[in-house]
Each structure stands twice: as structure tokens, then as C-alpha cells.
Symmetry: C2
Subunit: 104 residues, 2 copies
Amino acid sequence: MTENDIFRALADPTRRAIFEKLATGSMNASSLRDGMKISQPAMSQHLAVLHQAKLVRQERKGRFVNYEVDPDGLALIANWLAKYRAYWPERMDALRTLLKDMDQ
Amino acid sequence: MTENDIFRALADPTRRAIFEKLATGSMNASSLRDGMKISQPAMSQHLAVLHQAKLVRQERKGRFVNYEVDPDGLALIANWLAKYRAYWPERMDALRTLLKDMDQ
DNA sequence: AAATTATATAAGTACATGCTTATGTATTGT
DNA sequence: ACAATACATAAGCATGTACTTATATAATTT
């Protein structure tokens, strides 16, 4: 799990879509495939990349493997972003809200 | 400037290094090259990619072109990250600090 | 135990990407 | 006007990446 792993993992739109879907709730690889016009091996490979980047955790449940968002990867991005706080625009509403939530 | 442009731009370590250097202060392409073992065309191409992603602004100053960090790109990353706030770890200190800064 | 289901891995291929060398364009200095 | 400097663009090439098909592994069901 390096900065490089993370950014390369997120560089692919299919992988971002998978991650985004996973963020709506943990699920196994087959469920992730539903409605996603992607082959089984392709999904497996994408999940491996996301996993290596620590954007995703996996846990075997019988013959399924359950996947979920791994906060570690997100934390690394947040830290990367924080380095440039001097350049953040005045009105960054989404983040402002976020901060309030966290800071209570 | 799309989400895709941004993540692809940041996927390359050389480009992240250029961006990081630029974050220490605006400078022209030649200054960016100093100490960076990279050819002039390569630098120019990287800057074009960063520019298209709105991670960098450019302004011609005589025969130099001055580059600076463009907050627009950073804002897009922040918004992307904000979508996953449900998964942020409890103690994300860098961001907590950041929020305080922004929130008053 | 054999068949089925879920996922992973291997090998090959087409295309994307980051570099190079060569050349073009813009601006300044003499 | 000409040379020099700063940067951009074009074309070619080597490597990386995302897919495919084929096959392996792991767990469940009958």
C-alpha cells in the first residue's frame, strides 16, 4: 500500500465504479458484477488491485468472498490532499460539511 | 477537467513530484526541471497533462511560462473523497486539523 | 465422490502511456 | 534581421495496462 498503488488503482474508471458500488454496502464479487458488464476474471483482477492499494478489504465467507471499503486507503488520500491545504479554495462546501461532521 | 483526467494525471509518480514541487511555490518549466532529471519535452508533456486536469494553471511571462497549483483540481478530489465520508476512520488527524482551519 | 458454484490465476493480445529525438513556435537580446 | 533562449508539438518506440480465453483452486450441494 503506497501512494502510488492508490493513485494507480483509482486511475481506472472501471475500478472507481467498482469502489463506488462497494461504498453503497459490502458485497461479494458476483454481486458487484451484477449490472456491470464486466467479465469474472476482469472483476477479480480489479479487486486485487484495489486490495493491494488498501482501498478494499476481503473476507472469505464460504465459497463467496465478501468485499468492503477499507478506510486505510481513503486515509492516505486524505493525507495527500491535506498537504495542499494552502491551495484549497475558499468555498469547498462538501469538505466544509465533512469537517463539521468530524469535528463535533 | 474530469474526474478521470485528475486521477490519471496523478497516477504517474513523476507528475505527482512535479505537482508537489509546484506546491512549494509557482515557477516556470525550467525551474521545475532543476534537479529533476527529466527532459524538457517530458516536462512539457507532464505539465500539459496536469493542466488539462486543472491541477495546474499556466501564464506566459515573456518567454517563460509560469506554472502554479490550480485549486480546481484539488477541489474535485476533495469532493470525490467527501462521497466516502461514511468510511473515514475515526482519527484522521490531518483532515480534522484541516477542517478546523476551514470552518471558522 | 461427483457435480456445481464462486473466485483466482495464467498467458496472450490490443491499446495506452511515458519516454526519446527532431523540429516548430514564441519571445528576447544583440 | 539574426542568434539565443524557453517552451510546445510530432513521430516513433518500449513498456504498462486492461482485457480476453483457458484453466486452477476452493467451498458447497446432491
